[in-house]
Symmetry: C2
Subunit: 148 residues, 2 copies
DNA sequence: CCGAAGTTGCAAGCGATTTGCATTTAGTCT
DNA sequence: AGACTAAATGCAAATCGCTTGCAACTTCGG
């Protein structure tokens, strides 16, 4: 649980209080890898432990503290993922078939540098690379149906 | 106006009718480079020439016909840009200071290939690369204020 | 001219996210 | 411990981009 302690420290140094509800939220975020929406996150909490509004507010704090990354899908919903050393920046794949947002392999050093070069002239804090198309699972499903 | 004719042809071949309102919409999209939201687009139309709903519906058709690309900002708003030969795929920069979405230089062939490689295994239709941070203008402004 | 298909505007609906506000809680100072 | 201050919380209501239902209208082939 290295990450949780780190997160707590960073938050406290920002004058943010780490309340019981927030610890729960951090635990859920940490235990489930991958992307999650505010509402899903709220759903994973023990009933009554935190209001949905609290989830939104805490997520905003986490993003500001850079402990969490926000990914915007074309569905207009915000997805969140932990931004710790165990979860470095990586591209995502948005499937137009099933609607899922899938994590892709981490950029290699050289590729990362090449991409970042395009932001020259501005102060870049983060990059988000989102592919769109049909995921391998949906492709397989379509092929099956074609056969059957 | 090569693009407009092209667009018209593509649309017609898709069974989409090119009505007066739609021609206006295409003209606005074409004349203003860069990104634009549905509401802004509607604002540029002569008053009463098309309902906002019509704009949304037509944009959806254009995206489906791949004549227009959709870019999702973290503000939850959809931005659109023409997808013609004069406007190839390129990364964008979202400024946290002024909120603008800025177009960056087009990817070079090799970089493009490298990025696309990460989508391997899925059927990729498009990629969207969005940087986030402080744009050069906002940086300059901040420096000035620091001085004064 | 007829009919099927496509388009439009209006009003209403939807759903993610935000805000206002009064209450509660956590951290600090004495 | 008691007092004080800033932060956090829950609830209800508001916001707002976007979508839908529907009836009227246009377009185009035959």
């Amino acid at each position: 649980m290295e990450t949780l302690c780190d997160a707590t420290r960073v938050l406290k140094s920002n004058g943010v209080r780490v309340t019981p509800a927030r610890v729960l939220l951090l635990e859920v975020l940490h235990s489930r890898g991958g992307l999650i929406t505010a509402q899903e996150l709220h759903g994973f909490l023990p009933a009554g432990s935190a209001d949905l509004v609290t989830v939104y507010r805490f997520l905003a704090l986490l993003v500001k503290a850079r402990l969490v990354r926000e990914v915007a899908g074309t569905d207009g919903i915000a997805y969140y993922e932990m931004a710790c050393s165990h979860n470095p920046v990586h591209p995502h794949f948005e499937c137009l078939g099933c609607g899922r947002l899938i994590c892709l392999p981490v950029f290699q050093q050289e590729d990362s540098e090449r991409v970042y070069a395009y932001g020259e002239g501005h102060e870049v804090e983060s990059v988000s690379v989102v592919f769109r198309g049909t995921c391998s699972e949906c492709l397989a499903k379509a092929t099956e149906e074609g056969k059957g």
